[in-house]
């Protein structure tokens, strides 16, 4: 039900205008759902459900035990309350922890066994045509020259991965890119060695829950010296109602390798909030580099704060080797609640961590996001650029930690957090923690909060732009530094998303 429906149309205003405004106010474009037959595990979480999920994925015993011990731990810890977000209590027993399309009951041996409805879903989401052909299992699709740059996609639909593209081509380069359930089956040694080594099962409330019930996710292994021939991408879609999505991503960049990874997410519009608690672990060995880019566009709820995704995510990269490098770039426009702190542990000497973030909160959205840069190795460097934009009645918080340990000599951090407020009902907050335990390191932190500059707006409007366009332009300028850090295709999408997210926030 749109709030606009209740508004009485004044005389002299034609229906077309009303419809146009209506169109704008419901700006979330991915709010439709796919009617597809689903298979659910019973609601709630307990050891039986954990076993069931493990069973469904044909997991070996060590994996089931790993999950069970995480679950035992989860039962003993309490939900954190320190973030500046407020939401009704989550009933963890009123959620489906496992949902998969019926057609996926038996894992398709090849992509042409995939339900066409699923593929249609991804087509609707605008996943490049080339990949659709592959997801649809078109004979010889792998050999069709890709339009522009190639991106390999792992698509996750509710609890399961429905298909991964370009696997063969990646295999030639030695890169393993598959769903995590497949990895547990085919590469147990790698999974055993690395899973939980960056985000241990006991890490925090949501990560622990994820460790117990994660149903699928993506797995990447880039062998020593290999530059991954194309960008890898995961596309997450929550479709089923009352479902929690718990995916787990594990990326390992071995010595001297390079990979760029993109992540996108959407969900249908619903008036009941849904939970998403993911864990991403990245291991970066000597001289390796990982770029991780996210465009998070989960359903944010309506303008009254009804529905939307509760996004509680733990993302962490461990720069284990010397001269390793990781770069997090995120554009956070969706979710009713965001609780997310992609972090870097700079363990290797001369390792580098970067964090570029745009967080937009409009209407009743609440975002508490930021990063942790933990400097352990000598001569490590980190850079944080965070741009928070609040509009409507939204609350947007940057929360971050920069920690220079005593042994992290000659290290360097630069942090810049800027907040922009649009309207006088929203809030922008900055909560940085700075811990410096040696004197050869330099730490600089800067933060500003301001509103959209009237002069800039006036200038744009003078040139014939309407107010909304003008604000979008100014905001895009404000975000420029972060947008530039995104891979090309994502930057375009993000820029458009920034404008859409702020629709209806002016005037």
């Amino acid at each position: 039900m749109n709030a606009m429906d209740a508004v009485e149309v004044k005389e002299g205003v034609d229906q077309e205008t009303v419809d146009a405004v209506k169109e704008l106010s419901g700006a979330y474009k991915h709010g439709w759902e796919t009617e597809i037959e689903m298979e659910y595990a019973p609601k709630g979480v307990n050891t039986d459900i954990v076993r069931l999920i493990s069973n469904k994925n044909n997991e070996p015993e060590w994996m089931t035990d790993w999950r069970l011990s995480a679950f035992a731990r989860w039962e003993q810890i309490e939900e954190p309350t320190w973030a500046m977000v407020s939401y009704p209590d989550i009933d963890f027993q009123d959620i489906y922890y496992y949902a998969r399309p019926k057609s996926m009951e038996v894992k398709p041996k090849s992509l042409d066994e995939v339900d066409p409805k699923l593929l249609a879903t991804y087509a609707k989401l605008g996943i490049p045509l080339k990949e659709q052909a592959i997801l649809a299992g078109v004979e010889g699709a792998e050999d069709i020259p890709a339009e522009g740059r190639k991106v390999a996609v792992d698509a996750v639909f509710d609890s399961v991965s429905v298909g991964t593209t370009f696997q063969a081509e990646l295999e030639k380069a030695g890169v393993i890119f598959c769903s995590i359930s497949e990895a547990i089956e085919k590469h147990p040694d790698l999974v055993k060695k690395y899973l939980g080594s960056v985000v241990p099962p006991s890490d925090n409330f949501y990560a622990t829950l994820n460790s117990a019930v994660f149903s699928d996710g993506s797995f990447v292994y880039v062998p020593p010296g290999v530059r991954c021939p194309m960008e890898l991408s995961t596309y997450f879609r929550i479709n089923a109602e009352n479902t929690g999505q718990f995916e787990r991503t594990l990326i390992i960049a071995d010595k001297g390798s390079y990979v760029s990874y993109l992540e996108g997410c959407t969900a249908p519009k619903r008036d009941v909030a849904q939970l998403h608690a993911a864990v991403v672990e990245i291991i970066v060995e000597e001289d390796a580099e990982v770029k991780y880019s996210t465009v998070q566009n989960w359903y944010p709820g309506d303008e009254n704060g009804v529905g939307g995704i509760y996004n509680f995510v733990t993302k962490r990269a461990d720069c284990r080797g010397a001269r390793s490098k990781v770069m997090w770039t995120q554009v956070e426009t969706g979710s009713a609640i965001t609780w997310k702190y992609p972090s870097c542990i700079l363990r290797g000497d001369d390792s580098q961590g970067e964090f570029y973030s745009i967080a937009i909160a409009n209407n009743m959205q609440q975002a508490d996001t930021g990063t942790k840069m933990v400097h352990l190795g000598k001569n490590t460097k980190s850079r944080i650029v965070s741009k928070g934009i609040s509009a409507g009645k939204a609350q947007n918080t940057y929360r971050g930690l920069v920690s220079m340990h005593p042994k992290a000599k000659d290290s360097r951090n630069y942090t810049q957090c800027d907040s922009l407020l649009i309207g006088d009902k929203c809030g922008a907050h900055t909560v940085p923690y700075i811990e410096v335990k040696n004197n050869s390191s330099r730490v600089e932190h800067e933060a500003t909060t301001s509103k959209v500059d009237d002069d800039q707006l006036f200038y744009c409007r003078q040139r014939g732009m309407d107010e909304e366009e003008a604000v979008a332009l100014v905001v895009n300028g404000f975000c420029k530094e972060v947008l530039q850090a995104l891979p090309m295709e994502f930057a375009m999408e993000a820029q458009a998303l920034v404008a859409i997210s702020l629709e209806g926030s002016v005037g």
């Binding site: 809030g427 900055t430 700075i434 811990e435 335990k437 040696n438 004197n439 050869s440 909060t449």
Partner: protein, 428 residues
């Protein structure tokens, strides 16, 4: 649950050693309310977010840890300034050592006398500002102070006060445990300067509540004494009205543990609040924590927080600063800077500079830096023939200067600068 029980036990053990002074009905009620507040929140533990960087254990202990007396040949601070001296020895008012409690434009009384009067203006301030400052963050030591403060003064400025009032806190007993509470009310258009000097006690809990009416001006300059082993937990709660000015500066040398909380609420338009501090610490047994919380609840106001810390030989400096701009507090200009100069590799600086903003037409910023002395600057000075030690002192002094500049009175600033120079000369 176990944690809550532990907290309750610690609180109970500490309270067992304290006695609540008796006064007029309203005064006893104010103290009882404060005790109830304290019991509801309990004394802090290191698990509390607000005590993340400072361990309150020694402040919680039933007995004050002993602190050796420190003797110095230097002349008392601000000796050359004409002022009203009010002396406390180990937290107890010393009438003989003090001047007459009078000056033009001001009324000064002992806290106990004010609290015994049936009708007194202090009723509207004592414990009132402290209670307001208990949200959104609990400050248990402040509530404890309100409940159990055994001495102090109440000061009411009715015009521009002719000379500064200097509270001098002497420390003479190695195991003294003092709780002092001072209240200042600056009436509309009045102006007063309050000086606080000295270590006071082995363990010192001190609170200052300041109400500044419209157009009033309050200057506060404090030097926390040089005793190496002393511990202090101090609070300043201020509420300032339209067009008023509040300026506070604190210089801290030495001290095992110093925690200074400053909580300012700006309730009138076009008011100005500045809080600044400099601390110089030498040695692993130096821990200094500045915690500031400024609330903007009016339009067109300005606030500044300027904190500089010079740390060496394993000293620890903490800064937790916050600017809260409430909805409707438009045209706020908020500025906050916290910087540390780490003179060696053992020292540490822990900071949490926060902004919480609910109004859009504001300009708020904060900055925080930490690092060593600039090698190039050092080289430059040495190439001009300055010995390394002098060059380092000069650069350190320059680093601290921005905070000292917050003191308006030149004479007071000069005296503090001289002491600082002396300290640096002895400690480099």
């Amino acid at each position: 649950m176990a944690l809550a029980k532990l907290k309750a036990d610690v609180t109970e053990a500490r309270l067992a050693r304290l006695a609540m002074p008796d006064g007029a009905g309203w005064a006893n009620a104010a103290r009882a309310d404060a005790l109830a507040r304290l019991q509801a929140m309990g004394l802090p533990s290191k698990r509390d977010e607000y005590w993340k960087y400072t361990d309150p254990t020694s402040l919680n202990a039933p007995d004050a840890p002993e602190a050796a007396l420190f003797h110095s040949d230097e002349s008392p601070l601000f000796d050359a300034v004409d002022r009203v001296r009010i002396v406390f020895v180990d937290g107890v008012f010393d009438a003989d050592a003090s001047d007459d409690l009078s000056a033009e434009g001001v009324e000064i009384e002992r806290l106990a006398d004010a609290m015994a009067a049936d009708i007194h203006w202090v009723k509207d301030v004592y414990g009132v500002l402290e209670a307001r400052g208990q949200t959104p963050v609990n400050r248990p030591f402040a509530a404890m102070n309100t409940a159990f403060a055994s001495d102090g003064v109440v000061i009411r400025a009715t015009a521009k006060v002719s000379k500064p009032i200097n509270l001098i806190y002497l420390h003479q007993d190695v195991a003294s445990d003092a709780i002092l509470h001072n209240v200042v009310k600056v009436e509309a258009g009045a102006e007063v300067t309050l000086l606080e000097t000295g270590p006071a006690a082995a363990r010192f809990s001190k609170q200052l509540e300041v109400e500044v009416a419209d157009g009033g001006t309050f200057h506060h300059v404090r030097a926390q004494g040089r005793d190496h082993e002393r511990r202090a937990v101090t609070h300043c709660f201020a509420r300032i009205g339209a067009g008023s000015t509040f300026k506070s500066f604190t210089l801290t040398f030495n001290g095992v543990l110093t925690r200074n909380d400053c909580i300012i609420e700006i309730v009138g338009d076009e008011a100005v609040a500045h809080v600044a501090g400099a601390c110089v610490g030498d040695g692993r047994d130096f821990h200094h924590d500045d915690t500031v919380f400024i609330t903007h609840d009016a339009v067109n106001c300005e606030s500044r927080q300027v904190f500089k810390k010079v740390l060496r030989n394993g000293a620890t400096g903490v800064f937790q600063g916050k600017i809260l701009v409430k909805a409707g507090a438009q045209k706020t200009d908020g500025y906050q800077i916290s910087q540390s100069l780490l003179l060696d590799d053992d020292s540490q600086f822990l900071a949490k500079p926060e902004l919480e903003i609910y109004a859009d037409d504001v300009a708020c910023s904060h900055g925080s830096t930490s690092g060593a002395i600039d090698e190039e600057a050092l080289f430059y000075l040495r190439s001009r023939g300055l010995p390394e030690k002098d060059a380092q002192s000069l650069l350190t002094l320059a680093f601290v200067a921005e905070a000292l500049e917050e003191i308006e009175d030149e004479a007071l600033a000069d005296d503090l600068r001289d002491r600082l120079e002396g300290w640096l000369a002895r400690h480099t």
